[in-house]
Symmetry: C2
Subunit: 199 residues, 2 copies
DNA sequence: CGGGTTGGATGACTTTTGTCATCGGTGGTG
DNA sequence: CACCACCGATGACAAAAGTCATCCAACCCG
């Protein structure tokens, strides 16, 4: 029987996923609602597979994957997330995850995917793989940082203060980002980048 | 046996919820991934309970609830959604729903809540009820409309064009909204309003 | 009827944004 | 080495955004 730990911050979804996997014949050996708890659980139970969301309090799914690769290398990590976070695919694969699925995919594919991963294969949602081929994040690290803060409503001067930059420099980075993304202002640029998982 | 139809746009969550409810002894007579399909299903099967998300393609959960109240008045509607959409509570209750739950609540409460609703009671997540008491949306309809568009990155002139308002008027509404929300610019104001479900 | 509220608009003014050209420093890489 | 990409900064200018006071018309409502 394949032993699984699940990490997902929405408790109801967490419970529902557990129910689904049990119906499908998996052994759910642990459920966690945040990244830290998940890491502790994985260290304690060393499951075959860790199924995790990306957005979570504490450690994110990505950070969790990196930690697990060190602490419990035999545990394979599979990420399930919403399409909105699909831009994390590359970073997820870099972090050594074995699978990347969408919550939009039918529930039946989840069990399939987990069995395949357990058999040693890598699984990436086909829609996602297609979307990932094509546009690549054109932003530099600085542009990303600045854009993220701008998207939160901070004004250039405040962003500069947080990042130890001049206001003018901040405006320059924003201007470049807006230009690269084909947006017409910082708000649109931030939304675009966010929707592609680049922020 | 309590007969339930589930509507939820993330297929995997949809399937998982179905698995959970079946384990809990409910009869899941239908699953829909958008509002229109859900309405058809409810009309066809007339379940005891419709469990639905708010954000969906086609009809939203709220519109769905109103339609169901007309087409299948014996079906009770229960909304499950994320905390981020908690501001819909009042509107949901106005629409005659029998329950409003959070995906953040433990999975075990879902079955409980559905049984209670089936017994004729109303169920509202306690965290939500507490949060709803207290802050009330201070925005006027116009301010809401304008703020929503501003949050999408449109500039004042474009917003005015869409709403048949002068640019100056748009700026006035935004200024008021920013002031009411204690924000320091339109971006922050939009984020604040959105996070409270007021947009 | 008179008064209060609300939606919409102007005008004037200040502050923030966005754009550009330009400069200097650092760290690869063919 | 020369070239190029990125980082950081300045200065200047045009375009938005935000603030305030004020005004008008349409509704309520007592």
């Amino acid at each position: 029987m394949i032993r699984v730990v699940i990490a997902e911050d929405q408790q109801m979804v967490l419970g529902a996923l557990a129910a689904l996997l049990e119906l499908e014949g998996f052994e759910v050996v642990g459920q966690a609602a945040d990244g830290d708890a998940a890491l502790r659980l994985v260290k304690g139970t060393v499951p075959d597979i860790l199924l995790t969301d990306i957005e979570m309090p504490g450690l994110t799914g990505l950070e969790l994957a990196q930690q697990v690769a060190v602490s419990a290398p035999s545990t394979k990590v599979v990420i399930v997330t919403t399409f909105a976070r699909s831009g994390y695919l590359k970073r997820a694969l870099d972090a050594g995850t074995a699978g990347y699925l969408l919550k939009d995919a039918p529930a039946s594919t989840l069990a399939d995917a987990l069995r395949r991963v357990h058999a040693g294969r890598r699984v990436v949602d086909p829609e996602l793989a297609a979307a990932a081929w094509g546009e690549v994040d054109p932003l530099t690290d600085r542009e990303r940082q600045v854009l993220r803060l701008a998207g939160d409503g901070l004004k250039s001067a405040e962003i500069g203060r947080q990042l130890h930059l001049t206001e003018g420099t901040v405006r320059n980075y924003l201007s470049e980002a807006i230009n690269k993304l084909g947006a017409s202002n910082r708000i649109e640029a931030a939304r675009l980048a966010r929707s592609r998982g680049w922020l």
